[in-house]
Amino acid sequence: MHPFAYVEPKTVKEAVAALSKYGDKARPLAGGTDLLVQTRAGRFNLDAVVNLKKIPELMSVKLDANGLEVGAAVPCYRVYEDPKVSAAFPGLIDAASLIGGIQIQSRASMGGNLCNSSPSADATCPMIVHNGVAVIAGPKGTRKVAIEEFCTGPGKNALAAGEFVVTLQFPKPSPTFGAAYERFIPRNEMDIAVVGVASSVTLDAAGKTIKNARIALAAVGPIPIYAVAASEWLKGKPANEASIAQAAAMAKAAARPITDMRGTIEQRKHLVEVLARRTLTKAIERARGK
């Protein structure tokens, strides 16, 4: 392993300074469950590792009338163990509670999951369907990027030199909102998604018609895919099996998978349809308060 400096900023400003100083030879450290493994495997030759966990904003969870703001380095368990958060943000909870196992969840953050920018990341798609936004700090100040626009390629994202994610913001869902995330893995845990699908819906007051929907696909393209056509099509459609089936078929069409050791193109496309159907069904049930 290449020798590196370990930097521990206490403020956002100090962190920006440290990251700017080392440029692309520095990496922020949240839970380290990706970073340490990848560094040891020789993926990076770092000069500096910048620990973000001593910065208060990155470790706080705020839930108020506007919605939820999660510090980018908050470990998953703090998200799913908060009863209020877990009641309002079911899609996030599905993801936070299935990343790795208990040990991993006590370190791994949703911010790290997003910034690692793997197409198979389990938290990114649920964040998309919860209309998430990343709050980014950098040398030029602060800016916001919608989650579906954050990843730009496998391991690549919208962050410029010296920038990092401070918090993740999610608007408060309406009472008729429901979301779900499911992934397909050959085993039952400790595995990487062959395919993942997150779906969310907002129903009308009667729970019969879909007012808004979002579907996002993991591990079927170079980035997590926001399935726009399928999502838009669902608007105004009845919340029934036929609509779900049609949207699932459209989601399948949006998938651009490859064949590799985890699955084939055919298998993955098929799984998108199956999981889109399952997650839409679950999201509707949840929206109806079931």
Binding site: M1, F184, P186, V194, M261, T264, V274
Partner: protein, 769 residues
Amino acid sequence: MVATFEPKKTYKVIGTRPIRHDGYDKVTGRALYGADLKLPGQVWGAVLRSPYAHANITRMDTSEAEKYPGVLAVVTAKDMPKAESKMVDLGEGTVNEKHEVDRIMASDKIVFRGQPVAAVAAVDRNTAEEAVKLIRVEYQPLQPVLTVEEAMAKGAPIILPDLVGDDLGEKVKKTNMAKHFRHEFGDVEKGFSQAKHIVERTFKMSMTHQGYIEPHNAVAMWDEDNRLRIWTGTQGAFAVRKQMAGILKLDESRVKVTPMEIGGGFGGKIPVYLEPIAALLSKKCRRPVKLVMERKAVFESTGPAPGGTLRVKVGVDASGKITAAASDMKLEAGGFPGSAVGAAAMCIYSPYNIPNTTIDGWDIVVNKPKSAPYRAPGAPQAHFAMESVIDELCEKGGWDPIDFRLKNSAKEGTRRGDGVKFGSIGNVDVLKAASRSPHWKSVLNKDTTDGKKRGRGIASGYWFNIGLKSAVTLSANNDGTVSLVEGSTDIGGSRASIAMQAAEVLGIPALDVRPTVADTEGVAYNDVTGGSRTTYATGFAAYEAAIKMVEELKARAARIWNQDPSDILFKDGVFSAKKDSELRLNFKELSKKLGETGGPVTVTGSVDLSTGGGAYGAHIVDVEVDTETGKVEILRYTIVQDVGKAIHPSYVEGQMQGGVVQGIGWALNEEYFMTKEGTMANSSFLDYRMPTTLDLPKIETVIVEVFNPGHPFGVRGVGEVPIAPPIAAIGNALHDALGVRLVETPFKPGRIMEALEAQSKAAAVKPKR
């Protein structure tokens, strides 16, 4: 051993479940493994491995690495003693010396990806790892040969130019076929002509890795007096000594090997990998050098179980009797010859009595890691093929799978597929116990509300188990305990099972026998912990030593009491005089008096057992399949196995369950996923999917005890039989659930979906009547 033993009804120690002697150290983290070792002056090494699966090395330049600050030594194949292309015995059958040396460090040609080409020793691990990257190697890449079919195709690239193949006794040059043998009995043509049902199928299997948690490790110190010390996690310290002496051309007595605690081996820790490299580095820098593998290197360059292609044809007459069987097994040896195909041939027909049989076995060289033993080497492959065909025949003839197996069961005197006649074996008992098991008697509810499908499967399996050489020393301590020194590294609780056999004879509690696994100078020769031989053979040696100790202690009691030694009785741990009932001393009391009666008492037992106790298992499994995704859930699993005698039932159950778990992994997800360049794409535990606890039901165990007359307590081997049947059992259960026959491992979700798709396509084109 000519002696035969009779079963005894009651034991004091055997059959009980004491805590294990090494338990405290293991749960408190104090047990010392190879990676824990830190000797004074110790430095670190790193190994450079080939990125190609098949290539010629055209140039190598180590000068940059040598100049790197902190580097103490650099070695390449040039530092290895010159090896000739001749057959030598390094303790595991004969091997070509040049192949063995090239496997450790390639001299001119790369035959598998991950093959070492150079190594560095440096002041610390990071320096060594950075320095090794500075070694420049130029390769001329060659077309990799990745399957037995590719290897045997006309015009295939030749992997080992010096390989002389043996085709039924004839020498063949310019070949990738190392060996082709045949076992033939009766008249198969006639046998098949008597058959009413014949099933013939071809099966394909992927390489699988043992997946032990502890990666390979070695520390070596080669001193100025040309003495070599090795500390390593190994299944056999003496096997390491022999390999080291052979590869490095040293007298065996110059090599001292200390076996550290071992975190799993399953056969994979019999060959040496890092030890000779660490030794050469140490020879150059005269410091203890430590090497520890990364998981990627473990997958890419240590020995997995061979994959390959197996064809089996079986005929059954109208009455349900097997009339003939013919099989052809081509297994992947890896980059050098030596797959487990010979053992596969010993197992394939073993559950059955078949009058007419042929077996063709092929050992084929391919550009993959050199295969190594993996728990019942060859048996899972052979039984997968055979038991799948048997299942299909039972379905065709409408026979109950247990009744069919009972009707055709091998018994004492039946001839095995390779010609050996069975002694006392327990297949019938196992099958009967399986039919009485709660699992088999239960009805599998096939109605699911969520569209999932369920099925049940059963399969048999066999492993011959070996005997070989073991030695044990017992010394009496004056507090009434006994020190037991053995040379069998303890992988699965064998300290306990060996100590218990001595304790039974000595009439003392199991924990009063204190076992130690010694280095190669602390105990006489021991064969490896492998072949399920340890509790059987080393336990036998412990029994012999304990008998001698009782005799010696009788003599001591006789001296104290002024009696004739032949007048001393020993029963239930108490010594007494035949002629004076007042004279009694228990083991502990007598132990205190050893100093006054002739000094310390130490005895040895040693055995060389030509055979082990072959044993059978029958496995029953219920599966559930999500037909939308192809995912398989194991709902229930029961393993029934003849163990001879369960010395420590908990560890016997643990072995049975462990074998099943590995078999489930092998069946469902584990594979070497090779790119066309010959790279294993999934060389990490992220993508090499072994089952976790969440993928497994509680595995129910049924211990059957059919006494082995070749052992004082009736022990047979236990650890390997349980991995023989699971692949077939699960394949048969999937067939029951889905109606498709899976002929390629692993039965991963994508493959199940493809099979279901083919099934529905076939149904669609069938003309409707």
